[in-house]
């Protein structure tokens, strides 16, 4: 109570500050006057009385300071005084302050930029949705397996079971995690739209109201009677339909079926999944209209991301408890119906538990990975900021030394130590504040640059808004920065022994202060080594990755993905369309060959199957990647055929894989030391069909550029969805438009997705290395520049402080080379210590990077020594410039100037 009261009184004290000051002045005046009167009445002269009264009363200024301190630390008038004074001090040295602010702004800005992504990915709740604190996400989890692979989305029957049996949730909604692409036939043309299938209750549970018409409702989403209705997104309605006010009730043709427009979603609502912005939403139960296959509504297909709305915020524990129970019940139900659950996991008997996560744009199970990645980046840039802080601290320490007299004078005039510390802190906080404001601008620009690194081939739209969280983060970082770099100099500066400093005429730097700055420089140097080594490793690995042999040509190829099945065509019509298109494309000028493939190496999707050597149950069968290819694909992609032959056109178009090609690794595993051509394998583990190996393909990279050898099978049996691969002699970029033009000529209703050059396609596998390379490269360069400025500053300051000493030495006969040795010696010592510590730390830290590196060891000796040599050379230069200045000291001037 007493404490609360004290605080309240202090707060009140703020308001009445000025009044209180005046009252105190009056009291003091009266008190002294009365003392004087008394002395006068005792017979002292007026002057003597005044003197005696003042003596008896004590230090008036000190008392006022004390009273203010007791009344309230946060006295606004005093802060304002400090700020004004600080501004004057900062304006005195604009250049060096600008340098500090710039370095800090870059440091703060880079951190804020990374945080912008953390915020967009992990912190920001889905937009346009009400009561986000009540929303959770539910994932199936196989407790017996680990990592991302142990999490599953829901099957439709599982979703329905949970939805109908949950009591702790207000409702359970679901949506299509992969998204659905549909061809929109509009005025005789085809265009690809991105859609999302959602449960009928989704909009009402999220509290999303239609901007026009109505939202999708439960009635639209009935399994026995699905309604062919869609809800359009606001941007789609605005841009593609010219904001047609009468759109509700009209029909849109999607994948050859008529859908009625139920309404338009509000602007800003993009669903619950990160980086997707669907053009339309349709009921889950109509999914068969898009895929022409309703197997997804049955078991086995894990495709639904499920979210629930709790009855109240903070009830996740209860909901989780119920989910565990529901998971067991669902499992028992599967057992009794003899329906295997968990076919995805490869084990039909597994119990899949259900886990609840808070609903964010990044699905729960993946948050950890995104968090670790962005956290790592934040750590790197925190180091950069630390280097910037050290620079600033170093500069302020130097100033603190220069201001010892000022501090001594102020303390002699009655300023308390706390006041002096505060004054210095205000100055550093002002620097940090300006830097923080500039940092926001840096962050804005950087985050927009970073998003440019995203491969164009990913149809994701990521909004990275600078909302209040980013501003708050930047403010806190700036504040912390200001305190970190300002506190040590402030404490140093205020710890003056006034009498001693004022007596001591010369202003030599104390040994302690110099030592502290030296420690800072060594720390900087060490941090710089770590960052620079990391950056160099990443850049070298990026160069390696660009040079890596993917097993196919990464130039002169254009790609386009088509799905003739989506228009509901019969197989003959599909074949006919693809044959006509291929013919047209092959006759384009410059095109040397063209073919089709279902999935390409290094893509995001792939198919695996089992391969064995014998019919029936084969215990030695293994899982391999399968690529379904047309005739001539190997030639078109530039994949060398080592033995045998390509598939014939008939083999490629056949529905059964009578003839296949395998890669070197599989050949070696199946028939070591033998010629595999003519041998037979069994695909798909059905133990029925034998396939003849007709060719052996050179090994390539299939999942990631950094992987080891993998076994792969190339077979025919192309499905209706496939990628057109075109090889040209000329520039693949110009080919894209021509390919795009040919598709509607072959069939006006068709549209292609992912029309891209092979270079654009390769941006995806190179993406992680590129991003990390860019970011670490930037951090390395920043660290290098800042460290050099720091080292230069320290040596230059040392020279300026020792000008007198150097003058004496030279007057006593020291040669220039001696002076050079003296100055350089100190710089070299610091550099070597810093390098030593830094290299040890770098070797430790590089281990963390190793999964991202291609063709280079984490402790690559060439990189480490190159970094050390390069840094040492630049450090020498940073020392040399001030050292040369030292040798030019004129002894006569230096000695006179004291």
């Amino acid at each position: 109570m007493a404490n609360l009261r004290t605080i309240w009184v202090r707060v009140k004290g703020q308001a009445a500050q000025k009044q209180e000051d005046e009252a105190l002045d009056e009291e003091i005046r009266e008190h002294i006057a009365m003392l004087e009167e008394r002395y006068v009445s005792q017979g002292l002269s007026a002057r003597e009385a005044a003197r005696a009264a003042r003596l008896q009363f004590g230090n008036v200024t000190g008392l006022k300071e004390r009273q203010r301190a007791v009344r309230g630390f946060l006295s606004p008038t005093e802060w304002w005084q400090d700020v004004r004074f600080g501004a004057r001090m900062l304006a005195k040295r604009p250049m060096s302050n600008l340098a500090v602010v710039l370095a800090l702004a870059l440091g703060i800005g880079m951190n804020a930029a990374v945080f912008t992504f953390v915020n967009a990915l992990l912190l920001r709740p889905p937009q346009g949705v009400s009561e986000t604190n009540k929303l959770i996400e539910v994932w199936l989890h196989n407790p017996k397996s680990g990592g991302v692979q142990s999490y599953f989305p829901f099957t439709f029957p599982d979703y329905v079971y949970y939805r109908d049996h949950t009591k702790s949730l207000e409702g359970l909604m679901a949506f299509d995690g992969d998204g659905t692409q549909a061809i929109w036939n509009h005025e005789g043309t085809g265009e690809i739209l991105h859609g999302q299938l959602v449960s009928g209750n989704l909009f009402s549970l999220l509290g999303v109201n239609a901007a026009l018409g109505r939202t999708l409702v439960q009635e639209d989403d009935r399994l026995d009677n699905p309604r062919q209705v869609v809800m359009l997104s606001y941007p789609f309605w605005k841009q593609k339909l010219a904001s047609d006010p009468g759109v509700v009730g009209k029909t849109v043709m999607l994948d050859g079926a008529a859908f009625t427009v139920a309404g338009v979603a509000p602007a800003g609502f993009t669903g619950l999944l990160i980086a997707t912005s669907p053009d339309f939403w349709a009921p889950l139960t109509v999914q068969g209209r898009f895929t022409h296959d309703d197997s997804r509504m049955k078991d086995h297909s894990y495709w639904l991301i499920v979210a629930g709305k709790m009855r109240g915020a903070g009830q996740r524990q209860n909901v989780q408890a119920e989910l565990h129970v529901l998971a067991k019940q669902a499992y028992q139900l599967h057992q009794s119906r003899n329906v295997p659950q968990g076919s995805v996991s490869g084990n039909n008997e597994e119990l899949l538990d259900a886990l609840a996560y808070p609903l964010t744009l990044v699905p729960g199970p993946f948050r950890g990975y995104v968090g670790a990645f962005t956290g790592g980046l934040l750590a790197v840039f925190a180091l950069v900021l630390l280097i910037a802080c050290t620079n600033a601290a170093s500069l302020l320490l130097a100033r603190a030394t220069g201001r010892a007299r000022e501090m001594a004078t102020r303390s002699a005039l009655g300023a308390g130590r706390a006041r002096l510390v505060r004054q210095m802190l205000v100055e550093s906080l002002m620097l940090a504040g300006i830097a923080g404001a500039a940092g926001i601008a840096v962050a804005w620009a950087t985050s927009r640059l970073l998003i440019q690194l995203k491969p164009a081939s990913i149809p994701l739209t990521l909004t990275i808004p600078m909302d209040w969280r980013v501003v708050l983060f930047t403010a806190v970082v700036s504040l912390a920065t200001g305190v970190v770099f300002g506190l040590a100099p402030a404490l140093r500066a205020s710890a003056v022994k006034a009498a001693q400093v004022l007596k001591d005429e010369s202003q030599t730097a104390g040994r302690k202060k110099t030592r502290m700055r030296n420690v800072l420089v060594v720390a900087q140097m060490a941090t710089c080594v770590v960052l620079l080594a990391g950056a160099t490793l990443c850049v070298r690995s990026l160069m390696n990755a660009n040079a890596i042999d993917a097993g196919f040509d990464t130039h002169h190829i254009a790609l386009a993905t088509l799905d003739a099945g989506s228009l509901g065509y019969k197989p003959e019509k599909v074949q006919d369309f693809y044959a006509r298109l291929l013919q047209r494309v092959e006759s384009l000028p410059g095109v040397t060959s063209a073919s089709y493939a279902h999935f390409l190496p290094l893509g995001t999707s792939r198919i695996q199957t089992s391969v064995g050597k014998q019919l029936g149950k084969d215990p030695n069968s293994m899982e391999v990647d399968v690529y379904q290819v047309g005739q001539g694909l190997l030639r078109t992609m530039g994949m060398p055929l080592l033995r045998g032959r390509d598939l014939t056109e008939q083999e490629a178009n056949s529905n059964t894989p009578n003839a296949v090609m395998i890669n070197e690794t599989l050949a070696k595993r199946l028939w070591p030391g033998e010629d595999p051509v003519g041998k037979r394998i069994v695909l798909d583990g059905d133990g029925k069909t034998m396939s003849e190996v007709v060719g052996v393909v050179k090994d390539g990279k299939y999942h990631t550029l950094g992987e080891g050898p993998l076994s792969v099978v190339f077979r025919g049996t192309l499905p209706a969805m496939r990628t057109l691969v075109v090889r040209t002699q000329g520039d693949s970029r110009t080919l894209l438009d021509e390919v795009r033009r040919e598709i509607p000529i072959a069939d006006p209703l068709m549209a292609a997705t992912d029309v891209q050059t092979i270079e654009e396609y390769m941006a995806l596998p190179l993406f992680p290395a590129r991003t990390v390379g860019w970011l670490l490269g930037t951090s390395g360069v920043l660290a290098l520049v800042m460290t050099m400025i720091g080292l230069f500053g320290v040596i230059a300051y040392m020279v300026s402080q020792r000008t007198h000493e150097i003058g004496v030495r030279m007057a006593l006969g020291a040669r220039r080379s001696d002076v050079m040795k003296l100055v350089m010696g100190q710089g070299i010592r610091m550099t070597l210590v810093g390098l030593g510590i830094g290299l040890c730390a770098a070797i430790g830290a590089a281990r963390l990077l190793s999964p991202l590196l291609y063709g280079i060891g984490a402790n690559d000796p060439v990189t480490m020594s190159a970094v050390a040599v390069c840094l040492a050379a630049i450090a020498l230069l940073a020392c040399y410039l001030p050292a040369r200045k030292a040798t030019q000291v004129d002894p006569s001037i230096a000695l006179r100037y004291e």
Binding site: A23, E27, G58, L63
Partner: protein, 114 residues
């Protein structure tokens, strides 16, 4: 005696001021200083300014309150008076002080042994 003055012990000034106000009723700062001077018989080396700091501290604790009035020689002055809470606090503090003083006295009386 006048040239051998004792320093005011940390924290004791507040107690002295509080007791003075309790005993004398409302007083201004000058009056409080006079009263302490009188009682201490010139033994204490008191910076009279510090009385005001003590007054402010006590006021913040809610143990005394102040109001403006006119002093005996017609000057405007702030008069401080003890509150109910202050009286209780004084009781506690005085008790505490006597206990501590008693201990110190006993310690100081210890005879040298052996």
């Amino acid at each position: 005696m006048a040239d051998r003055k004792s320093e005011v012990l940390q924290g004791t000034l507040d107690l002295m001021v509080l007791k003075t106000l309790f005993a004398m009723g409302p007083l201004h700062g000058f009056g409080t200083a006079r009263r302490i001077e009188q009682v201490s018989d010139g033994v204490l080396d008191l910076n009279e300014g510090t009385v005001y700091t003590a007054l402010l501290r006590l006021q913040q604790q809610g143990w005394i309150r102040s109001e403006w009035g006119t002093s005996e020689n017609n000057r405007r002055a702030r008069f401080y008076s003890i509150t109910k809470q202050g009286s209780k606090q004084l009781e506690r503090e005085a008790e505490n002080w006597e206990r501590v003083a008693g201990v110190i006295e006993k310690v100081l009386r210890l005879e040298r042994q052996g």
